[in-house]
Symmetry: C2
Subunit: 156 residues, 2 copies
């Protein structure tokens, strides 16, 4: 863990809170280039806001980073453990490191990421856990629609 | 194989050709509800057109289908074998069947899909192969940027 990881996760959490305030799923993400020491992009889940089922926080963040040839110098931050769509994307794009806010509310696919040589840092941060917990309690149907209906731990 | 599979793949190929004519990657996709016997959506790769790295053909098609609670009645068609982003999405969303135009120009992740109980039909259609081959010959750098730089056969 590095100091920058806490700062970047705090920013990703701010994205999650922004989404919550818009009525959306409170999952935020940030892409940071650790070679350039530079914030590349950030984003949040937009399923509700844009009617877009593929716009998970990580996907919105990767989309906003625009076209790149390689991702070997970036770390991706997500307030919640990545689903199989986002995990497949991380592996396909060759993102070497992911920092995860929490995997209590959604287990996600840490074993899959690690099997494919992605370095994973799991924080289980209290603020990430509480915000997600609150949304799930208030919106069980939206949560089921987004991913919880498919919260398998996929065999890897 | 069903007659409808050839019709739907021909439509997905039309989407691929449309993308080629726009200067984009010629990969098309279609979602068909086999219970309702209904074309739900279609799309094509938009990396070049929209500067959007996550807009592979399959993703554009799934996005255009809009918000759904479940995908258990749909078949997804793609002119090219799905990369790990698209394969992860198919598994996460619970799409039960995928029909693939070809896996000669990109191997993709058929074993991964099958391991996660997705039924895969591979056509290796000549027209899909030739269109992709032509684009790769003409645009090796764009092809490398999109996926070929990461054409691993991921362990499953």
């Amino acid at each position: 863990m590095y100091k920058i990881d806490f700062e970047n996760m705090a920013y990703a959490l701010m994205e999650a809170e922004k989404s919550y305030n818009e009525g959306g799923l409170p999952i935020g993400s940030l892409m940071f280039d650790h070679e350039l020491n530079k914030h590349i992009s950030s984003g949040h889940n937009r399923r509700i806001q844009d009617g877009d089922p593929i716009a998970h926080g990580e996907m919105d963040c990767i989309r906003k980073a625009g076209r790149r040839h390689r991702y070997n110098t970036v770390t991706l931050y997500s307030t919640l453990s990545p689903c199989m769509m986002c995990s497949g994307t991380i592996v396909q794009f060759g993102i070497p490191r992911v920092v995860i806010g929490e995997n209590i509310n959604f287990r996600g696919n840490i074993a899959f990421l690690e099997k494919h040589d992605v370095k994973v840092t799991l924080l289980n941060d209290e603020m990430c856990i509480k915000l997600m917990e609150k949304f799930i309690r208030e919106n069980p149907k939206l949560w089921d629609e987004d991913v919880s209906g498919r919260d398998h731990v996929w065999n890897v």
